[in-house]
Symmetry: C2
Subunit: 162 residues, 2 copies
């Protein structure tokens, strides 16, 4: 297997195409990682969540990491790692524009995922938990790809060690 | 979408079946998350890695989190979150047995992934970076599943907010 670095452009294209990844946050050096659906644009990821452990932890410590990948096998994958800072987008005058933009991008992404059924999730229903909209303001993007080593394709089979 | 808790047994079965997830570690409250291939057994995940940021960080802070999932869509997924502690399995008398066990389990898992080609990766090649074998000693497993809300299937389409 050969691992090489992806260009910034390739990494951004992967993020844009995937729209799903894993978000890690940390409290008192205990990391916590959950799946996340996001919309990517320029230097930000936009996402939403109901209140819970990850929102509470990110409010306390805005340092986060998002990882997104396309895995074909142990030997063939692309993975992008984003470091960034959590910024909440509450429903107020100061954040109205960014929040509206996040909702538009996420709606488009959700429609792409699953049509009208998905877009319906962004509409408030009586009794639904209120979603928290937020952005991850990206400070670093790195990407790597693994490709099978051509020589290994002809390697003889080995038995696992007992 | 309805989210419910998975039983301990279902969570363990998902971990066992997947063998791939994301490992988060943290240093000075900066989380870092990478893809990980693992073998699961009882209260441990076994994995290997070449030296790098994640091994260095886990040596400094053994608190980790592993997340593994099966995502069909935004509305239909299963996700398991494991909290645990990193333990390195070096090639010495004290860890020989656990290390051998890890290699056996990972070999089986790798063969399952991709036949002999995959098992070849556990064999040392001259000039290859030396892999670090380790276990994650599990302290907590939680699992959740999301299922589409039947009512939403008939909801009318909505336009994204401008």
């Amino acid at each position: 297997m050969q691992i090489s670095e992806m260009s910034h452009r390739e990494s951004r294209a992967l993020l844009e195409g995937l729209g799903i990844g894993r978000l890690a946050c940390a409290r008192e050096n205990q990391p916590y990682v959950v799946p996340i659906f996001f919309a990517y644009e320029e230097n930000r990821l936009y996402a939403l969540s109901t209140l819970g452990r990850k929102i509470e932890w990110m409010r306390g410590n805005p340092l986060v990491c998002v990882q997104a990948d396309e895995v074909r096998s142990y030997f063939e994958w692309k993975s992008v790692i984003v470091l960034g800072r959590y910024e909440e987008l509450p429903d107020d005058a100061a954040h109205g524009k960014a929040r509206g933009h996040a909702i538009t991008l996420l709606s488009q992404r959700f429609q792409w995922w699953q049509g009208a059924f998905a877009a319906d999730r962004l509409r408030a229903h009586a009794g639904d938990p209120v979603p928290v909209f937020f952005s991850i303001n990206i400070t670093e993007i790195t990407g790597h790809r693994a490709e099978p080593d051509p020589a290994a394709l002809t390697a003889p089979a080995v038995e696992p060690q007992e």
